[in-house]
């Protein structure tokens, strides 16, 4: 929207709509707030678009401005049930208000009172939610608002309730709350299909509530109430649709407050119809809704249209609506919701099973004209879902097609293979056009004789081929591949009596034929070369023809064998690769463990070495098994044995600070590790070793409070050796605060377990500086902390400090101010925190 035309007040109120309390809108804060408003709107749009369906509800409620939401929640909790109903009612009235083009009765323009732009959005939602008459708008609006807030179920319920809630808000307070509600509604009103059932429930509840709402609000009256209840019933079925529509509407309208009231009008139209209690009314309302929705979302209309056309009621609206997108949408939707629509189509569809599957939801919804808005919204959602699915369908089809093509290809390949394998006879069937006998044959015999001979040969050849084929296939019928002469004669005579005379001639010709005619003649013994007809004893086919099944089987087997071999090879390769990878990973793991172990050993040895330094009683070496047993849990010892061995080897080879030697411990020889102390100096001298954290407001008081400080953890009284370690500590403190000339008194509490040092400064400012310098520093490996002490208590404890006023210097160990003797640790450390 043209935000530049917003006045300051409008900008202010709009920002409040989003739940944000802006500061004063002045000339220099104006652009900032405009930007913020834009950002809010964009976020809203994104939310509506993106999250929408599922997660929207609860998150939206939570993301909504706390203030308005609270208000809603309160309302909800107060009158859940009534709120629902009232919200439903409220919606209807609102809707009718907005629906100008709606043909229905005047409900279209129910009431659009203070419709601020941002309200429109809500109105849209409201309308979508419940098409009730305006009279109860308020109530319903309230109810819906309540409902939306109170329902914890994020899915349908919240969506529905949100829709109502917005309506309610609209009713009562078209301001801040609306925004939140609309936001929430937007989220909630995009329920997924699966949630329509839930929404149904909520709408049902809303219906019930609306009734009670009526009562408590002193609704329009009995008859109206009845209608309303009926409507409510219908509404609840259409509730999910409504919420859908709401979401759709809001989506349509965009996030800006200036929503086009299409959805609202649609809702209103629907409501009107409800009120009319006539199918016509329903149709009209839906039609009106659709007409309104049409320009925006054909889907909505189509949904309504579907319902309407199916119900067979007023078609004029349908017709007019049907025009543009509805067809598309309806088509898109029809196949999807065919099942659900059919039951819904029947005008007498019961309101039953609301809680059932979404399909059923649609069913009852279609009953009456249930606000096409919710349906539309559903449609929109479905359509949206369908669109991606259509895309995927095509992809799916494509993949299926490819798959079938591949299968066919392979099948063809197999068949060809089979054919190649099985068949072998080059000779054609039927008439033998050519024969291998040469021109002599032709000249020797007459045509008929030739034909007979050739036919004989052909049948012989075929027969032999079949025999051979069967034999090869392993059929028991033909025990031997070859046929004896008698058998051949018998067969040929059986074929044709004319063959009798020409058998010998044919055989002779076969012998004469230089090339292989497909028949092999052999003598008594196999493989004898036959020179004369009389020697022929066995005839065999060289081109066996196997039956089809046999061929197929053989081909299949061969193919499968080959495929199997390939698969096996591939599998072997893969397994080898996997194994190699596994081994490699194992190696890495073990190496890592080994290094880890090495580090732990080093740590142990180092600490032991340091302990030995402190304590001269300890032996400076540690037996290796002892180290192992202390580092490795008993149950892991077996597992870690290998790691341990490697660690030991590594240490002996690579670690210079540890020496492996053999020692006698209590009479037994042990391999021990000796920690060779690295030539580190300053084990005696105490040093400041840097700061642990920068001092900022979080870990230090913003300003120094008192001139007295208590410094903790400067030393460990048990560990201190030497006579003047406390002096050293004082020196260290003074050194650290050398820039600070305000330290007048230092006292080291030798007996404190915490290593406390008390410092007094000239002023709070000096102590603040000292605080900054000391707090959080590392000293001698310990983290020093500083806190302020009360001056009076400090004086209580160190009365001599009261008189100190001269700053201490670090370089000198002696205190310059005489009246302030040092080394005065308080006898009791009580009284100081």
């Amino acid at each position: 929207m043209a935000s530049t035309q917003l006045t300051d007040e409008e900008l202010f109120s709009q920002l409040k709509c989003f739940g944000y309390t802006p500061g004063p809108v002045t000339e220099n804060t104006r652009p900032v707030y405009l930007k913020k408003l834009k950002k809010f709107r964009e976020e809203q749009q994104q939310q509506q678009r993106g999250k929408g369906r599922v997660s929207g509800t609860s998150s939206s409620s939570s993301t909504g401005a706390p203030r308005p939401v609270k208000h809603d929640v309160r309302r909800l909790s107060s009158g859940r049930r009534p709120g629902l109903k009232s919200s439903v009612l409220g919606f209807s009235s609102d809707e009718s208000d907005a629906e100008t083009p709606l043909k229905r009765k005047g409900l279209d323009h129910m009431k659009r009172p203070s419709r601020s732009p941002h309200l429109q959005q809500q109105q849209l939602k409201i309308r979508a939610a419940t098409p009730l008459n305006e009279a109860n708008k308020k109530q319903y609006g309230v109810g819906t608002a309540l409902k939306s807030n109170s329902f914890p179920n994020p899915d349908g319920q919240t969506s529905a309730s949100l829709g109502w809630e917005t309506g309610k808000r609209y009713m009562h307070d078209p301001e801040s709350r609306d925004e939140d509600v609309s936001d929430e509604e937007v989220q909630n009103s995009h329920p997924v299909n699966g949630r329509s059932a839930a929404r149904l429930n909520t709408s049902k509840l809303a219906g019930e509530y609306s009734d009670s709402d009526e009562e408590e609000v002193g609704g329009p009256g009995g008859p109206e109430r009845d209608r309303r209840s009926l409507e409510l019933r219908r509404i609840y079925t259409s509730g999910p649709f409504a919420s859908h529509v709401d979401g759709g509407g809001s989506r349509i309208g965009g996030k800006n407050c200036a929503l086009n009231p299409l959805g609202n009008r649609a809702m209103a139209g629907g409501r009107e119809e409800f009120e009319e209690r006539g199918k016509k009314g329903d149709l009209d309302a839906s039609g009106g809704l659709r007409s309104h929705m049409l320009p925006r979302k054909p889907i909505y209309l189509s949904l309504g249209e579907d319902h309407q056309s199916k119900t067979g009621e007023n078609n004029h609206i349908n017709r007019e609506e049907g025009a543009s997108g509805s067809n598309m949408a309806s088509i898109a939707l029809r196949p999807r919701y065919r099942g659900s629509y059919s039951p819904t189509l029947s005008p007498q569809g019961g309101y039953s099973n609301h809680s059932s599957v979404p399909n059923h939801a649609y069913g009852p919804g279609t009953q009456k004209k249930k606000p096409t808005a919710p349906e539309d919204e559903l449609l929109l959602q479905f359509k949206r879902e369908e669109q991606p699915s259509s895309g995927s369908f095509s992809a799916h089809y494509l993949s299926m097609f490819l798959l079938t093509a591949a299968c066919l290809f392979f099948l063809l390949l197999g068949l060809m293979y089979i054919r190649m394998r099985g068949s072998g006879s080059p000779a054609g069937d039927g008439v033998i056009k050519s024969h291998p006998f040469g021109s002599n044959f032709d000249s020797s015999y007459s045509k008929t004789e030739k034909d007979v001979i050739l036919k004989l040969l052909l049948s012989l050849h075929d027969h032999l081929a079949i025999v051979a084929g069967h034999h090869d296939c392993g059929e028991q019928q033909y025990a031997s591949r070859s046929l004896s002469r008698e058998q051949v004669t018998q067969y040929l005579l059986a074929q044709d009596g004319d063959f009798k005379d020409f058998i010998d001639v044919s055989l002779e010709w076969i012998i004469r034929a230089g090339q292989d005619v497909g028949i092999r003649l052999s003598g008594e013994l196999a493989d004898d070369l036959v020179m004369d007809v009389s020697e022929i004893s066995w005839l065999e086919s060289t081109h066996p023809r196997m039956p089809f099944t046999c061929r197929f089987r053989r081909a299949l087997l061969t193919v499968m064998n080959k495929v199997l071999v390939v698969a096996v090879v591939v599998g072997l390769v893969c397994s080898v690769i996997c194994y190699v990878k596994y081994r490699w990973r194992r190696e890495e793991e073990e190496t890592r463990q080994m290094y880890d172990m090495v580090e732990r050993i080093i740590d142990v040895l180092r600490t032991h070495g340091e302990a030995c330094q402190e304590n001269r009683d300890l032996e400076p070496y540690l037996p290796i098994p002892h180290v192992r047993d202390s580092l490795v849990q008993p149950q892991d010892r077996r597992k870690m044995k290998k790691v341990w061995e490697r660690a030991v080897k590594f240490l002996s080879a690579n670690e210079s600070r540890i020496r492996t030697e053999t020692q006698q411990i209590k009479g037994a020889d042990f391999m021990v590790w000796r920690w060779i102390q690295p030539p580190l100096s300053s084990d005696k001298s105490k040093m400041w070793q840097g700061k642990a954290f920068p001092l900022d407001r979080r870990n230090s008081p913003p300003n120094s409070l008192t001139p007295c400080l208590k410094i903790r953890n400067m030393f460990d009284p048990d560990m201190e050796v030497g006579d003047s370690w406390d002096l050293a500590i004082q020196e260290a403190i003074l050194e650290k605060c050398s820039d600070n000339d305000g330290i007048v008194h230092i006292s080291v509490d030798k007996n404190s377990k915490e290593g406390c040092v008390y410092v007094k400064c000239l002023s709070a400012e000096h102590s603040g500086k000292a605080f900054k310098a000391l707090h959080g520093s590392w000293f001698d490996g310990k983290l020093v902390t500083v806190k302020y002490l009360r001056l009076d208590r400090y004086h209580q404890r160190f009365p001599q400090a009261q008189g100190c006023s001269a700053p201490l210097k670090a370089s000198s160990l002696h205190q310059t101010p005489a009246p302030c003797p040092l080394q005065h640790g308080g006898p009791n450390s009580s009284g100081f925190s």
Partner: protein
Amino acid sequence: MSTTSQKHRNFVSEPMADKPVTALAGIGDRLGHSLTEQGYDKAYVVLGQFLLLRKDSELFCYWLKDVTAANSKQADDCAQCLKDWCDAFL
């Protein structure tokens, strides 16, 4: 642990009194100059703007980027500096 600059720490450690606007973290010579031209010559004037925006860092960043050619980092630093100062002294 936030990583604050020395300028930040200096500013936040004491009441700003009459410090110039260049004493703010993130505001260097260039930005300071452009702010001064617009009338924000002292740090407390910028503080006033910050307070007008209800101590909202985001809005203050918007404003600062609008009014001067500040980049995000500079604006964030300045906002953070003012915010810390307010936490400490307001």
